[in-house]
């Protein structure tokens, strides 16, 4: 993991549920099949209402997003347990979601897959930052710097090493919980 990333941010509001992250019609794609994993990324956040989100997260016809950081409001990832949700974001190229709060299963799936870092900001950055603003996420200090302001994020604590290792299995092998491959 790089110590910091700098990227344009994509900003969403409260209650972005898993249907908006990856609509149900795309769930027949199986994430462990490489080409279907890539395809899931191309549909990331395609369920957002067009009138509220005129900018496309993944450009039409593209496979990756130009936004490596997503800024969100309250309860990001609520709804279904589909692991397709963090996977779609990860496959599109997202490194971190910084949200005021997360829904539980989505947060857990981020950790288990190691697809992305779900940082809890505890504050409503989605009211302060606009899509397209450039931000730097510092993984050593758990801070987000954007438009000249630096915000302290809540440290990920126990789950950080799991994501650093690349997810549950890598972590479990590293720490001897399950046998090495």
């Amino acid at each position: 993991m790089a110590h910091s990333i700098t990227s344009k941010v994509f900003v969403v509001r409260d209650n972005i549920d898993t249907d908006q992250i990856i609509p149900a019609q795309y769930l027949a794609l199986v994430p462990t099949i490489a080409e279907e994993y890539e395809k899931l990324g191309s549909y990331a956040l395609i369920g957002l209402p067009d009138d509220q989100y005129p900018e496309k997260f993944v450009p039409e016809g593209g496979m990756k997003t130009p936004y490596q950081i997503v800024i969100a409001g309250r309860n990001f990832g609520c709804g279904s347990s589909r692991e397709h949700a963090p996977i779609a974001l990860g496959a599109a190229g997202v490194e971190a979601v910084v949200a005021e709060s997360f829904a539980r299963i989505f947060f857990r799936n981020c950790v288990a897959t190691g697809e992305l870092y779900p940082f809890d900001s505890g504050l409503r950055l989605c009211d302060i930052v606009k899509t397209g603003d450039e931000a730097t996420l510092d993984f050593d200090h758990d801070t987000l710097t954007v438009n000249g302001n630096t915000y302290q994020l809540k440290p990920l604590g126990d789950v950080r090493p799991v994501i650093d290792a690349g997810g549950l299995f890598n972590y479990a092998r590293k720490s001897g919980m399950i046998a090495a491959k």
Binding site: D17, Q20, L27, A28, I33, A172
Partner: protein, 455 residues
């Protein structure tokens, strides 16, 4: 300890656990379906090897139910992936769409999606099927790759939804590391009055605490009001714990629970030994509130989230395009009977779709006669469009040819469980959640309607 803490302590071999503890629990049942099963199997094989064996072939239950009656080739393929895995591993509880264990599932679009296309092993919606087929047992631990897995808490089981990676880990090890949640207690007094259903109770509670009011927490339902609730009622309530963000929902075990579980395990020959968790004197809660369920009124959760609580009687200005009854939450036999009570001898005013949750519900609706006419025909004669193919159908949208899916920006009143934007199809469509009574009354008038006008 609370019910959830007691079950987690027992499953992790400890005498005591506290909220916030991380514990390794031994899993009693892992359930997966056609949408998350193939990915779970993929994780299992990637991590444990192509020839690996699952930890216990009697503890894995595979229930295709989500995208079954669709011409979408990838969805049909996913059912075949489940069958191959069930054969390879010798999984005993696989409720296949077709009867031929060597066959391939192909939906026949020419036949349409109203007419029966499944074989005799098929059951329908996973959570309803777990109960029906004798996989819900008090005091046990059940994980499922579906957020509404919390429904099984109706049976005094610790049950919660997980992703493919966690499920793949369980397939190989039979264990999962989880955090003990804090418990919120909802203490029920009174009994439901005429015209009210369990759905009104849970919509009221979600409105009370908000759509994320139970995030990371267990929702424990207790009190003298529980005794009058049937297992169907309790399932409706625990099913929607996730709609308040809850980790799990749980009821105590009483004679109603035992009668249901003993009948289902005997009928299916599934494991029939279990130790319920009972209520301790020294429970501590992060939230504790008493609700008089006899004072509730028909309740609706308005677009765009399950916490948008309103009373049905205040919402008559909302004109509807469609009504829908079905899913784990609202597609049980008791739900359809309530619906039929209202529409019997009348005609629905808007497009109305009915999807039984399981093949058993379908059989019961055809077998139940009211004045010499089956409930199935009573519904059909009232103008309800019914399918003989039980499953999740349009509750979660699904592929575009799914029965009842909203493919245009319509407004729908639904007996299902979730109403975030786009949930039932078109991303500009709107869903209003309500009880089967309220959905039926609204189907007759074409606007949101308090069902007590019809009772």
């Amino acid at each position: 300890m609370t019910l959830t803490e007691k079950i987690l302590a027992r499953a992790s071999g400890k005498t005591h656990v506290r909220p916030g503890d991380n514990v390794w629990v031994n899993v009693d049942v892992l359930m997966t379906h056609d949408v998350c099963g193939p990915g779970t199997i993929g994780v299992f094989k990637r991590e444990f090897g192509a020839n690996a064996k699952i930890w216990d072939r009697k503890k894995v239950v595979i229930i295709p139910d989500h995208y079954i009656f669709t011409a979408d080739a990838m969805s049909n393929r996913n059912v075949d992936i489940l069958r191959d895995f069930a054969n390879e591993q010798g999984i005993e509880y696989f409720y296949d769409v077709i009867d031929d264990p060597k066959g391939h599932w192909r939906f026949d679009a020419a036949k349409g999606n109203g007419q029966r296309q499944h074989g005799s092993h098929y059951s329908g919606v996973c959570h309803s099927s777990l109960a029906l087929k004798g996989h819900n047992r008090p005091g046990e631990i059940l994980f499922g790759t579906d957020s509404h897995t919390c429904q099984s808490g109706a049976f005094n089981q610790f049950a919660t939804g997980i992703g493919n990676t966690d499920a793949g880990f369980i397939l190989g090890t039979g264990k999962l590391l989880i955090k003990v949640p804090e418990t919120m207690r909802f203490f029920f007094e009174g009994a439901l009055p005429k015209g009210l259903m369990a759905k009104d109770v849970i919509l009221h509670l979600i409105g009370e605490i908000g759509f994320d009011g139970a995030t990371y927490r267990a929702m424990q339902f207790e009190g003298p009001g529980v005794a009058s609730l049937t297992m169907d009622d309790r399932m409706t309530i625990t099913n929607m714990a996730i709609e308040a963000g809850g980790k799990n929902g749980i009821f105590p075990c009483d004679q109603t629970t035992l009668d249901y579980v003993n009948a289902r395990t005997a009928e299916n020959g599934t494991k029939n030994t279990f130790t319920p968790a009972d209520i301790d004197a020294d429970q501590s809660f992060i939230y504790d509130k008493t609700f008089d369920i006899s004072a509730l009124e028909p309740t609706v959760a308005c677009h765009p989230d399950p916490g948008q609580r309103k009373l049905a009687k205040e919402m008559g200005h909302v004109a509807l395009d469609r009504a829908y009854i079905g899913s784990c939450t609202g597609g049980k036999t008791s739900d359809f009977l309530a619906f039929a009570e209202i529409v019997r001898g009348k005609t629905v005013k808007i497009d109305t779709f009915g999807v039984p949750s399981t093949t058993r519900v379908l059989e019961e609706l055809k077998a139940t006669q009211w004045d010499g006419k089956s409930v199935w025909n009573i519904l059909a004669d009232a103008g309800v469009r019914l399918t003989e193919n039980p499953g999740c159908a349009a509750c979660l949208g699904g592929p575009v040819d799914t029965f009842g899916r909203m493919n245009a920006p319509l407004k729908c009143i639904s007996a299902t469980n979730r109403n975030f934007p786009g949930r039932m199809g078109h991303k500009e469509s709107q869903v209003f959640l309500a009880s089967p009574y309220t959905v039926a009354a609204s189907a007759l008038t074409g606007k949101i309607t308090d069902p007590r006008e019809f009772i």
